[in-house]
């Protein structure tokens, strides 16, 4: 079994798809010679050439829209939006165009395009280079949304995103690019819409995405030392959402913490909490706890940034709060 970093896993998937399928190509800013601002596409220009590893001008609307247009002709483009923050510039094309062509045409068109992007705090870029905006896109009918947290998952999920006939917004997390993992020799596609239980537990379910999956796993280990058994579940695909897996887990543990790096208010976790309270109301022994960033743009000074975004200790505090609600 080869060991791949999260970054290499993304590259591996893109390269495998491009080797097998002429309809797959990638485009984005600085993805060719430079290999992308995160180094994800490093070396791909040499293998596939500039026609299929297309550097674009700094034109998010046009590059997103060109990917959509090529997808409407049956190609499977993967557009890289350098930072999630720059999705704001491409949002008209993603939300009004990609998400709606199939619908507005009464089913005549498919738009098999993937928008890869990354974000996340922890390196003090300030307010415009580290937002977590997945909640904007899960709110749009017609889009699928993926947020992968491990090398194995990013590999299998990206493959499925490329070969899904719908537009997919595919979130990667900047601070995860370096993490490594043994992955299967052959790429195993992971179906969209399937959650992953990372850790079995009895007392509390933590539903976490992206970086917070890892923070939750750390928190779970610490909680175990206090005798609290924590189950950690990563939905992986945020839309469509594997509601059954989440509800099943909470019915077992009777307590739930929802954790993501994006701001808590109106976040993805709010929808998860609504689904859990409806689907597992009679099983819940405590209010659902929510973990996320404070309601502020991301500050620059490291001490402020560190304070604003959630970490393992915040997840642990939430676990303790929910356990403390038990009338024992």
């Amino acid at each position: 079994m080869p060991e791949l970093s999260y970054r290499e896993a993304v590259r591996d998937t893109l390269s495998r798809a491009m080797r097998e399928d002429d309809d797959v190509f990638i485009l984005g800013e600085d993805i060719a010679e430079m290999g992308g601002s995160m180094g994800v596409t490093h070396g791909m220009l040499d293998e596939f050439g500039p026609e299929r590893v297309r550097n674009t001008p700094i034109s998010e609307m046009a590059l997103a829209g060109a990917a959509i247009g090529a997808a409407m002709q049956g190609m499977r483009p993967v557009a890289e939006i350098m930072y999630e923050d720059f999705l704001t510039l491409a949002t008209e094309q993603i939300v009004n165009q990609a998400a709606k062509h199939r619908y507005m045409s009464g089913g005549q068109l498919t738009v098999p395009v993937t928008f890869r992007t990354q974000g996340g705090a922890g390196w003090s870029p300030g307010a415009q280079h580290a937002q977590q905006l997945e909640a904007w896109f899960v709110h749009i009918p017609g889009l699928k949304v993926v947020f992968a947290s491990t090398p194995t998952d990013v590999r299998g999920l990206l493959w499925s995103a490329i070969y899904d006939d719908n537009p997919v917004v595919f979130f990667e997390h900047r601070t995860l690019y370096g993490i490594k993992e043994q992955v299967p020799e052959e790429l195993e596609p992971i179906p969209l819409g399937k959650a992953r239980v990372h850790r079995q537990g009895e007392d509390v379910t933590v539903i976490a995405t992206g970086r917070l999956v890892h923070e939750a796993l750390t928190a779970a280990q610490e909680a175990e030392q206090d005798g609290v058994s924590v189950e950690v579940v990563d939905p992986r695909t945020l839309q469509p959402l594997d509601e059954d897996a989440l509800i099943t887990s909470v019915k077992k543990t009777n307590r739930c913490v929802v954790a993501h790096e994006a701001v808590t208010r109106m976040g993805f976790g709010a929808e998860v909490a609504a689904i859990i309270q409806y689907g597992a109301f009679d099983w819940l022994d405590a209010p659902i706890e929510r973990v996320g960033a404070k309601f502020t743009p991301l500050p620059f000074a490291p001490v402020m940034e560190e304070w604003c975004v959630p970490h393992a200790r915040d997840v642990l505090d939430a676990i303790k709060r929910t356990v403390g609600r038990n009338g024992d």
Binding site: A62, Q93, M104
Partner: protein, 323 residues
Amino acid sequence: MAKVEQKGTLSKDELRDFFREMLLIRRFEEKVEERFRAGELPGFLHVAIGQEAVAVGVCRALEDGDVIASTHRAHGHTLAKGTTPNELMAELYGKLEGCSHGYGGSMHLYDVEHGNLGANAVVGGGLPQITGAALAFQLRGEPRVAVAFFGDGATNIGTFHESLNLGQLWKVPAVYVLEDNKWAESTPERQHSPIRDLSKRAEAFGMTAIKVDGQDVGAVYAATRRALEHARSGKGPVFLHCDTYRLRGHYIGDPQVYRSKEEQEDVREHHDPITLLREALGLSDEEFDEVDGEVQEIVDTSVDFAKNGTDPRPEDALKNVYA
């Protein structure tokens, strides 16, 4: 300066055929106005009365396999690209038989089989996708061209500039058709653009621009043929600047408080492409009435077809969200 295209070399029979199609589009849109005012048509409707020569001149020049993206003012483009009046009218009535099966409406007319990738209700919204469709043709080595329609108002939006830059940079086989009708909704061109010759915007990207009298269908046809040849031969996209006029308001029911009666009358009197072509062809009243009777019958039939169409079930709204 963009080259100004001269008259084409269409035969009189071909021009009469074009005339018939322009008149069909005119009568169709007049019927749409009438049925909207009668309260039969839901939604937000925009007619392109006065711009028929652009729709017909461009679409008749296209080859099978070429694709278009249209605007909110799309009835003419849609008919000219091959959608039947029945299917178009059924769409405006929200019926399953409509060209978008009741999911689109006037501002979202699609007919993928006929190469219509959709009318777009976001100004400039289709330009990036036409650039991308053209890129797909280029990557696959297919001799096809993708054509975007848009108005002068769209030349101020970011998608226009980003798409023309990208299209020219990559030399994709696209034709960007500016329907310069002098109005961005209620805002006249002098209020929305600091320059009068909008071709300069394309030329700034190094793109070949052709300027043509958009009220002369023969000239539009000839210019489009030349633009398509350029794009298809791998020389890159062409900006086709069609000087045209919007004879009506922005939307059906627009009182046009922003536009003088004199200007409206002047445009109707001197720039109506159908009147101009009728004169050029020297059609007698009898000849005109014969064609007019034929197309009016087609339009009336389309209304009957639409009214007798199938209403979607409310829950059909949940179909087609995902493939």
